[in-house]
Amino acid sequence: MIFTETLTKKFSSITAVAGVSLQVQQGDIFGLVGPDGAGKTTLIRMLCGLITPDSGSITMVDNAASGESSASFGYMPQKFSLYGDLTVMENINFFGAMYGLNGTIINQRADEILQITNLFRFKQRFADNLSGGMKQKLALTCALLARPRLLVLDEPTFGVDPESRKEFWKILYQLNQEGMTILVSTPYMDEAELCKRVGFMNNGRLVVVDSPKNMKSRYPYRILEIKCASRQPEIFQGLPEILESNFYGDKYRLVVQEAKIAEAAVVEFLQGRDIPLYRLKETKPTMEDVFVALAEKEVVEWSMSSQPVN
């Protein structure tokens, strides 16, 4: 559906996107993740034809990126770009007209899409009076008006509460099942987990592309979960066997190289300080752990050795 070859974009001295070769297949739910400033939005904007690349090429089915036919893809930008002082239906009419659709078709499609997005009851409500989650669904409705075969979303669930995020993803899955290809960027790792394939970007480069499952199985470290009498957030910080430690209210989550060695070190450390240990166990890595590991430079080798899996 989308093929890019060594796509590059510079903004004065900063290379925002550096030689990205990306393939998004028909029927994919492709998640784009990476640290702030990794180049995700710039890449998405180039794919949508909003920014011209400095070099490299983009090939898309129906030549959508050339700007000739906008009907083959829908784009939902990061910022809410609807009119707060227009109603839901007025916004839809406006965007429908922008896509060159006539009134009858707009009404017909709006009814269909508003059923999917659960906004049917709110047709007459001003966009400003919608909750954060509903605003995002309205933006999605507008992006879907032209019946795109490819949907591109840039952080669509920014600042949306957990329940509304789940509802939003249900809609994306439904659209995907009906044959729509989806490319979505997200800062939420539980959402990355829902993608069929995930591309991790850092410093403008696409560092690794794989299924969430494979990414997790390739995680180079081990994770220990500890409950003990201490509530000092940074108590384990100095231990050489521990690469990273985080405190979550009542438990510590430690990233370690060797589980057995680290376990012994933790037990000894706590004993030496007379801190009772309640529980110590190893847990599986999540996409969040994978993200943190990938965001560090040391694991570049790990990611370079992986191959895209379809």
Binding site: P162, P187, E193, G249
Partner: protein, 302 residues
């Protein structure tokens, strides 16, 4: 206990819409007080009243012993407030922004350099002092905004969705700073949609449609909110299974957590049935705060 923040029947109306509805809160010193709720439930409105920016329509409240209605101006110098939108100056450097806020809070000149240095250290901004804010990535801006809001060493800090749109690495770093501040005695009230951040709070208040519907430690919420047995199911196409499982008579709730399904069963004797039905592993788990959030949000609406 002497509370830093107390409210009694605190209410705020906009026209005929009640954004905050008779809220009773008490926040102890040194706490990280997580303030959760769906979009539009009144979190920001509450925080803005506590900061003395917005006047209550009814009820009363005290922050650091000052009354919200009559002494709002006295509250402001003693608190730090970081809103969803960071109000930094893009065309000033990191140092200049901190210097500006130090001026706003009337920090004496002889202390400024030292204080700003402390903030740069605390917010991990070293080496970027001379960079223009416009050139910083979101994670850096966010830490600078935090530095600016605590440059006067407030005893209470209000953070309204400080980590929206920030990457997991930056969020972790940010919360470690928050934990450090709380450990040193600063009281922190924070709203967030990230449940891993909620887990790091010492107390969680959950509001819906302006009303307080739960208030406890993360542990207590996990153990007490859900009635039934929560199990984790690993299936190949979780999204497809979701609708099927929701319709089973013995399933009370079913939701997606990453690639796993969390299913709330009426009774543990239904685990075997579910195992047969899905032909997958079914294991009992301790509810996460996300499970708690979803249950509370649904219960309040239903």
């Amino acid at each position: 206990m002497e509370y830093v923040v107390t409210t009694r029947e605190l209410t705020r109306r906009f026209g005929n819409f009640t954004a905050v509805d008779r809220l009773n809160l008490s926040i102890a010193p040194g706490e990280i007080y997580g303030f959760l709720g769906p979009n539009g439930s009144g979190k920001s409105t509450t925080i803005r009243m506590l900061c003395g920016i917005l006047e209550p329509s009814a009820g009363s409240g005290q922050v650091l012993g000052y009354d919200l209605a009559s002494e709002a101006e006295k509250i402001k110098p003693h608190i730090g407030y970081m809103s969803q939108k960071f109000s930094l100056y893009d065309d000033l450097t990191v140092y200049e922004n901190l210097d500006f806020y130090a001026g706003v809070y009337s920090i004496p000149y002889r202390e400024r350099r030292h204080r700003i240095g402390e903030m740069i250290e605390l917010a991990s901004l070293s080496g970027r002092e001379k960079d223009l804010v416009a050139h910083l990535s979101v994670g850096w801006k966010q830490r600078l905004a935090l530095g600016c809001s605590i440059v006067a060493k407030p005893s209470i800090l209000f953070l309204d969705e400080p980590t929206s749109g920030i990457s997991p690495t930056s969020r972790k770093m940010f919360f470690t700073i928050i934990q450090r501040l709380a450990n040193e005695g600063t009281t922190v009230m924070v709203t967030t949609h990230f449940m891993d951040e909620a887990e790091r709070c010492s107390n969680i208040a959950f509001i819906s449609e302006g009303r307080l519907i739960a208030n406890d430690t993360p542990d207590q919420l996990r153990n007490q909110v859900l009635s039934g047995v929560l199990v984790e199911v690993e299936v190949a196409e979780p999204m497809q299974w979701l609708a099927k499982l929701e319709n089973l008579p013995y399933v009370k709730e079913c939701s997606l957590h990453g690639s796993l399904l969390h299913v709330l069963l009426e009774h543990e004797n239904k685990m075997a049935d579910l195992r047969v039905y899905t032909n997958s592993e079914v294991n009992p788990i301790t509810p996460s705060l996300e499970d708690v959030f979803i249950t509370l949000a649904k219960r309040d609406r239903g």
